[in-house]
Symmetry: C2
Subunit: 233 residues, 2 copies
DNA sequence: GTGACTTAAAAGTCATACTTAATCTGCCGG
DNA sequence: CCGGCAGATTAAGTATGACTTTTAAGTCAC
């Protein structure tokens, strides 16, 4: 995913971050910067920078004379893409996938409704193209191809909504979709009904029918939720 | 809001962060760590820690031999509470308020629906109490009192949804509500219809009527959107 | 037992020396 | 005139040591 980190502090985070979100250091645990620095064989400066980043994600809190305390889960910046990635890579992946899917079910329909009135001609064209690509890859186990178009489809919808916060969720949706494909949380071939819905959403957006775009997208996300219920109850 | 920052790097961020989000250093600008360190009269180490934090928010990117480059807005972690606060304090506050209100309109109805099935008895009681508090403070310019109950109401809904990501939006909603009260984006007294809706939502959640809770909350958020349209078109 | 004083531990800050990598310059050959 | 390679240059990255500040915790007197 994230190639090889260029800087030392980033390489430290690559293992320290997942360790924390994964529960290796449960909330309340206290770490010492110096010890960590030794453990990871980096200088204190590097470790301090790493801690600063963790702190900005509200994963830890640093207090004088105490150390670096792991904060309770409720404090974590669960919207931070990095944190999301770490958690998706860890043990509570199913829980995380559910949270994200619920979030999608709230956001995407509204985004699609907005997209119907805001999308540019290019974005409409892109949507149609993605829908076509999905159809073309919907049979015969061509999951990778399907996934690419699926991701691009949802990314485009979110971006076309014209809301920057929605747009920023494109990466999150991509992670979720990728996750369910790569971890076989999806049947061999995608659900034909879902494919059809995507085609129709593209159509609705093109025709500026906000209500229909919203409703159809809602059905897509409801489908995603049900799929989760079936496979990871 | 954030009292006096305890650490130097945090105090640097207090002015450097808003400066970046506020456009004082437009995307593409290049800063030099050493210069900044001199400017802020801190050591290089401290400035480096500050830069690391900005980097983790995807506000800047640091490259060797080049410097610290301000990234384009699309890259920013717009869900980071800190970034949200900085932007709300700056010039594009109206734009930001709109983004957040749209986000609320997507998330809160779904959250309320979930809350109807997930809320504990205590949470139901808290909701009712908040609704009562809102009614009690809805007349005679008692905006501050009203605001407190309003915030707590929405926080409780989001938390009761059982979705950690929704729960984390409590702070964001609080900022939005506070913002519209303190910046007079609200009429002298709150809209009576809105007050009634809150009472009814509390009722629907108590009665486990998910569909009704969702629909009523949708009306609240639509109201908030319309209010924005009227006051900041 | 309570309160004031002391101690020590760990983070915070600063200064400096040194390393690394990317950009830029300019030379050279084609 | 152009294209590419080589070395110079620059700004970030890393390491380390000395010193400061905060504060938990322990101690002693009352």
């Amino acid at each position: 995913m994230t190639a090889q980190a260029r800087w030392l502090h980033a390489r430290v985070l690559e293992t320290l971050g997942p360790a924390i979100t994964g529960g290796a250091y449960p909330p309340g645990s206290v770490l010492r910067t110096d010890e960590l620095a030794q453990e990871f064989e980096v200088s204190r400066s590097v470790m301090r920078e790493a801690v600063r980043v963790l702190e900005s994600m509200h994963l830890v809190e640093s207090r004088r004379r105490v150390g670096v305390t792991v904060l309770p889960t409720e404090e974590w910046n669960v919207f931070d893409p990095q944190v999301i990635r770490w958690r998706l890579a860890g043990a509570d992946r199913p829980r995380q996938l559910r949270s994200l899917t619920v979030l999608r079910s709230a956001v995407e329909p509204v985004a699609a409704g907005l997209a119907a009135s805001q999308a540019t001609a290019e974005q409409c064209a892109a949507l149609t193209e993605c829908a076509i690509g999905m159809v073309a890859n919907s049979r015969g186990g061509r999951l990778e191809g399907y996934l690419l178009y699926d991701i691009e489809f949802h990314r485009t919808i979110l971006k076309a909504s014209g809301n920057e916060m929605f747009a920023r969720l494109g990466d999150v949706v991509a992670e979720v979709l990728t996750g369910r494909t790569h971890h076989r949380v999806m049947f061999e071939d995608p659900d034909p009904a879902a494919v059809t819905l995507h085609v129709k959403v593209a159509e609705a957006v093109r025709e500026r029918d906000a209500a229909r775009a919203e409703e159809l997208t809602r059905r897509i996300t409801v489908g995603a939720l049900e799929e989760l219920d079936v496979l990871a109850p």
